[in-house]
């Protein structure tokens, strides 16, 4: 394998920007039409991702310790798209054809290098996919309850046909029949339950194909598919510190899952939950928060509004309100919400003595169709 030559060759294709992946997919669909149905109608985002992923692979091809786990995760995650071992040679052939098409100096040596590299990649991905067959490639679930709470937010209750194993705070990718082949990430708002039921909080994003369908069109009885869980907001089970939870918008979901976990598994500790919104109408889960605060003596819930001056709730940005109730320096903090809220809250907490190592965050923004290399599921 002549790695420098391969990198130079890849750079030539990559220099053509969108044209190279466009050529690749067109070649793939023409030579193997059966692969077309694995992809959504619009391929725009898909194209960005393919060459980004390939670029990462090419950059790390001489660092197998880093590359192999990435490929394994890719292989496992691709099962939910319906990718099978038989698709790999088809993709390899079109990839080689593409690299050849954009390189005038393509030769047999280069072809041999790429063939060898691709076979290695495919082998690692297929093996990882095969080894995870104890898990289904996806879980079929039924929407058993759909509750529009505000104009833009709905709370969905899903009953997976077989239980999904995840950690509270983790995210699952969701696909609805209404938007085939488009997967988006959502955090269940509960810890795994004996009956397997999941609660999702979905905010419709303007122009977002999946979120708007989940909020405004999906109905009770509809089918959705869930992909394997990924995530990083999971509760640090090695710590028994009291908790400070801060949520904005549907960032409430993973935070509720953490409360649920403390309630189910302990260890017992004090938990302070702060939920922020612009006005009172935006508290889409108020009734359930009230119920939790009544049932759980160790839980204190504080709601704060930033814009409605007439409200009887606390006023101010959530980060500000949290500080007023401090000090929090001895807590473990979990912060989830839109990027501005998370950043503001983390900065304030940190400047008031909470070490960064004890602040965990999840940013809720337009979600990525697949996690980045470091596991981020939103952008």
């Amino acid at each position: 394998m002549d790695i420098p030559a391969m990198r130079a060759n890849f750079a030539k294709a990559a220099a053509h920007g969108d044209h190279a992946p466009l050529w690749f997919y067109s070649h793939l669909f023409l030579s193997h039409p059966e692969t077309r149905e694995l992809f959504p109608v619009s391929m725009a985002h898909q194209r960005d991702r393919l060459f980004a992923a390939l670029g990462q692979v090419v950059a790390r091809v001489d660092d197998l310790d880093t590359l192999v786990p990435i490929l394994q995760q890719l292989g496992r995650d691709h099962r939910k798209f319906g990718t099978v071992a038989a698709h790999y040679p088809a993709v390899g052939a079109s990839l080689l054809a593409t690299l050849e098409h954009f390189d005038d100096e393509w030769d047999d040596a280069l072809a041999a290098s790429w063939t060898e590299a691709y076979e290695l990649i495919a082998q690692v991905m297929v093996k990882a996919a095969d080894e995870s067959t104890d898990q289904p490639p996806w879980w079929d679930a039924e929407v058993v309850d759909h509750d529009r709470r505000t104009l833009d937010i709905a709370v969905l209750k899903l009953a997976p046909r077989t239980p999904v194993d995840y950690l509270p705070g983790q995210a699952l990718s969701v696909e609805t029949e209404l938007r085939p082949r488009l997967w988006r990430w959502y955090s269940p708002a509960n810890a795994p339950r004996p009956d397997g039921m999941l609660e999702l909080h979905v905010e419709a994003r303007d122009g977002g194909p999946v979120s708007t369908a989940l909020v405004r069109q999906v109905q009770k009885g509809d089918a959705v598919r869930l992909g394997p869980p990924v995530g990083h907001l999971a509760l640090d089970t090695g710590s028994e510190r009291d908790l400070l939870l801060v949520a904005g918008g549907t960032g409430l979901a993973p935070v509720k899952a953490i409360i649920d976990q403390v309630a189910r598994q302990g260890p017992p500790r004090r938990v302070d939950l702060f939920v922020g919104a612009r006005n009172e109408d935006a508290f889409y889960d108020r009734a359930d928060l009230r119920r939790l605060a009544q049932e759980l003596p160790w839980l204190t819930v504080t709601l704060a509004v930033s814009e409605d001056k007439t409200s009887s709730l606390e006023h101010g940005d959530i980060g500000d309100v949290v500080l007023r109730h401090g000090p929090w320096a001895n807590r473990d903090a979990y912060v989830a919400g839109n990027p501005a809220t998370v950043e503001d809250t983390v900065t304030r907490l940190h400047s008031h003595g909470l070490p960064m190592g004890r602040i965990r965050t999840e940013v809720f923004a337009a979600s990525r169709p697949s996690p980045t290399v470091d596991g981020k599921v939103t952008e």
Partner: protein, 249 residues
């Protein structure tokens, strides 16, 4: 020796059943055991049958290999021509553009509708708040101004309370109406957008037709005809918005 004789004619094929059912005649007192000649003949027959099977096996293996090579060659289909790839790429870009436009349209509609909703709502709130406050102040003035006769004060307070209740209900109704109006608008956007499924893509043109389609392809992808066709498949539902649903509240 019964069913079949081990020495049976050369023409007859040796089958597993024949071997299973073979019976040798027992020898005499001088030569105990099976009759040598019969056993020898049978061994000959078995070995020639094995030879034949081995040869056939080799031949079949070669044939299988040939077929596998043919299959691999067939699977390794000729690479689609650059022209074909180009056409599909253009079609894909066109589709991507339509989806992006639909998303942008939906985004714009939704955010404008929300902005409108929030403006109206806050205005209505402010108005209602001001009226309620004015009414309450008037109520306080009247009830504190004990000098005025009870008879006239009582109805005035009741009037005001009634007015306040009315205004509260009015505010609530405004909000409900606005919300259902906005929801109808949003529903309309969603319906217009429709369901997009890769399987719903038109059948690709058969190989033979590709060359003829090449010439017109570029033009037809951008022509208004294509856009009109899409429109026909997903007829506009008209604006089911506001009017109908708000009238009922």
């Amino acid at each position: 020796m019964t069913t079949s004789t081990p020495t049976a004619g050369d023409g007859e094929r040796l089958t597993p059943d024949v071997v299973r059912d073979v019976r040798f005649t027992h020898g005499t007192m001088l030569h105990p055991g099976y009759t040598d000649t019969e056993v020898d003949a049978f061994v000959d027959r078995v070995s020639s049958e094995l030879d034949r099977l081995t040869a056939e096996n080799t031949q079949l293996r070669e044939q299988l290999q040939r077929l596998e090579q043919q299959l691999a060659a067939a699977a390794d289909r000729p690479s689609p021509s650059d022209q074909a790839v180009g056409i599909l790429a253009t079609a894909q870009l066109t589709a991507d553009q339509y989806v992006a436009e639909a998303e942008a349209f939906s985004r714009q509609m939704t955010s404008e509708a929300r902005l409108h909703y929030e403006e109206q709502l806050s205005q209505a709130r402010e108005k209602a708040g001001a009226i309620i406050q004015a009414a309450q102040e008037a109520g306080v003035r009247i009830s504190s101004g004990r000098s005025t006769p009870e008879v006239s004060a009582q109805p005035a307070t009741e009037d005001l309370e009634e007015q306040v209740a009315y205004l509260r209900a009015f505010g609530q109704a405004c909000r409900t109406q606005l919300r259902s109006y906005l929801e109808a608008l949003l529903a309309d956007v969603e319906t217009e957008w429709g369901r997009a499924h890769p399987a719903a893509l038109p059948e690709p043109p058969s190989g033979a037709r590709v060359p003829r389609q090449l010439r017109g392809a570029q033009a037809s992808f951008h022509s208004n005809e294509t856009a009109a066709d899409v429109g026909d498949e997903q007829p506009r539902t008209g604006v089911p918005a506001g009017t109908g649903s708000t009238a009922t509240t």
